[in-house]
């Protein structure tokens, strides 16, 4: 019944889905918060039931019960002793349960710096010395079963970092660095959002958290490090373009490959590099998201569109229709062929 109503394809799925992310923990911190929420909710139901029952007795119950309910003893027990005991017990239990949420950070955890920008997330992986080793955006990769410390910052206004499956919200405040420890206990993809209104397209500011098994994570990390090396390192040999669909004629594949080379040239000539960096090329802008790994990202436009050739073309050509007010202009002066070529080259940046 619940599945029918709330599950995938259920009637209420468009509203939220079931269980909603805030009640579906995938890590120890979220787990504790969820337990606390359910227990408090349960206690609330019990107290409400007692009050409704007392109300019924007061209105309709036998005279003897009504007199007891109105007596001084009932006030002492129900009005003072009961709340004092229950609330104190809940407070102590709740504080004990959530003590680990604020436990001090040891400094040995891997660090990832996440900076809120209007209206996307800059993600930088730090080495033990605090140097940035991988630049990425709108995507956070974590190893399963290992606490990771996030350095939360803001580049402009107050944002708030929230992955409901993993932890509570934490604000990103200009001029300050706040630390948040997160841990995923199950591999998977978890959506995240900006949870503090930050102007214009705030509602379209999201990201994806991907929790990998540790081996997979090490592989992912190594491949990213190799690609993110400083521009002086030799470029990886150009890879043949993957055929996006079976049945694509060989001539077309060749055409796509040359598209990509043309796309690189167009990307540079159109000035994309003024805001976007692609490691190993002359594009070194820092205002917009780093595109060194854009081809392997799951989403575009800060967690709002799937990432494939079609949406890349749509985003580059007309991002203002998709995310009105975002800081990238619509490149509608480029032809469809040129947009396709740029998208083809960006798809190779993995």
């Amino acid at each position: 019944m619940l599945e029918e109503l709330f599950g995938t394809g259920g009637v209420l799925e468009p509203i939220w889905g079931w269980p909603p992310p805030v009640l579906d923990p995938a890590g120890p911190y979220a787990e504790r918060v969820t337990t606390l929420a359910w227990v408090l909710f349960g206690m609330g139901v019990i107290v409400t039931a007692i009050i409704v029952a007392a109300l019924y007795v007061a209105l309709k119950g036998p005279m003897e019960w009504r007199q007891k309910l109105g007596g001084e003893r009932a006030v002492w027990i129900g009005g003072i002793a009961f709340p004092a005991v229950v609330l104190t017990a809940l407070l102590i239990w709740g504080l004990t349960l959530t003590a680990s949420l604020s436990s001090s950070i040891t400094g040995t955890e891997p660090r990832i710096r996440v900076t809120g920008e209007m209206w996307w997330f800059r993600v930088q992986y730090l080495d033990p010395d605090g140097e940035v080793v991988i630049e990425d955006a709108n995507e956070l990769h974590l190893p399963v079963g290992q606490p990771v410390v996030l350095e939360l910052r803001s580049a402009d206004v107050i944002h708030s970092f929230w992955v409901p499956h993993l932890s509570g919200k934490k604000d990103m405040i200009p001029g300050r660095t706040l630390l948040l420890r997160v841990e995923a206990s199950e591999a998977g993809r978890y959506g995240g959002v900006c949870a503090e209104y930050c102007g214009g397209p705030h509602a379209l500011m999201g990201f994806v958290t991907v929790a990998h098994h540790p081996d997979e994570y090490r592989q992912w990390y190594a491949s990213r490090i190799a690609r993110s090396a400083p521009p002086t390192a030799p470029l990886p040999a150009p890879q043949p373009v993957e055929t996006p669909l079976p049945g694509l004629a060989p001539q077309r594949e060749l055409a796509l490959a040359s598209d990509a080379a043309q796309g690189r040239q167009l990307f540079m000539e159109s000035g994309c590099g003024a805001c976007h960096r692609v490691a190993g090329t002359e594009a070194n802008g820092l205002a917009g998201p780093d595109l060194t790994h854009v081809g392997s990202r799951l989403t575009l436009g800060a967690g709002i569109l799937p990432n494939h050739r079609g949406t890349l073309v749509g985003w580059i050509g007309d991002s203002q229709s998709i995310k009105p007010g975002n800081r990238m202009p619509s490149y509608d002066r480029l032809s469809a062929g040129q947009l396709n070529a740029i998208a083809a080259w960006l798809e190779q940046q993995r």
Partner: protein
């Protein structure tokens, strides 16, 4: 489950609001009657509605709205590509091939293969998804 009841008498005399409880079976029966009403038949095309539902889901999942304004997709409503409102009434897909279900299904997956030089890139969709999308787009008459 509260039936609407006159709370205050019309003659000006104030009385306590009275609340009538309508038996739940009556409400269930009414709901059943309402849900039994079918939408009016489509004038030209009536692919099964489950297929169309899948089509809409596939459109949403693939992000077609990044370039197209599509009825049933509230966001995004891209304007880079043509609006797909009233798609059934269009004669030629992209001005090139007859607007049949098969052609459309092939076009949404791999437009350049169907119309050489098409500005729409190939989209990663399964054949099944493409058929469902074609069914959905063909269900859109000009009233949609």
């Amino acid at each position: 489950m509260w039936g609407a009841a006159p709370g205050w008498e019309a003659n000006g005399e104030r009385r306590w609001p009275t609340v009538r409880i309508i038996a739940p079976p009556a409400i269930l029966a009414a709901a059943a009657l309402l849900s039994a009403c079918k939408p009016p038949p489509e004038p030209r095309y009536e692919p099964e509605s489950a297929l169309r539902q899948r089509g809409l889901a596939a459109i949403e999942h693939a992000g077609c709205g990044a370039c197209h304004d599509i009825p049933g997709i509230d966001w995004p409503r891209g304007r880079l590509g043509p609006s797909l409102r009233g798609f059934t009434d269009i004669g030629l897909i992209a001005g090139a091939v007859p607007n049949t279900a098969d052609n459309l299904a092939a076009f949404v997956r791999n437009a350049p293969a169907v119309k050489p030089g098409s500005t729409m890139p190939p989209i990663p969709l399964s054949e099944e998804e493409a058929r469902a999308i074609a069914a959905y787009l063909h269900g859109l008459n000009s009233d949609a």
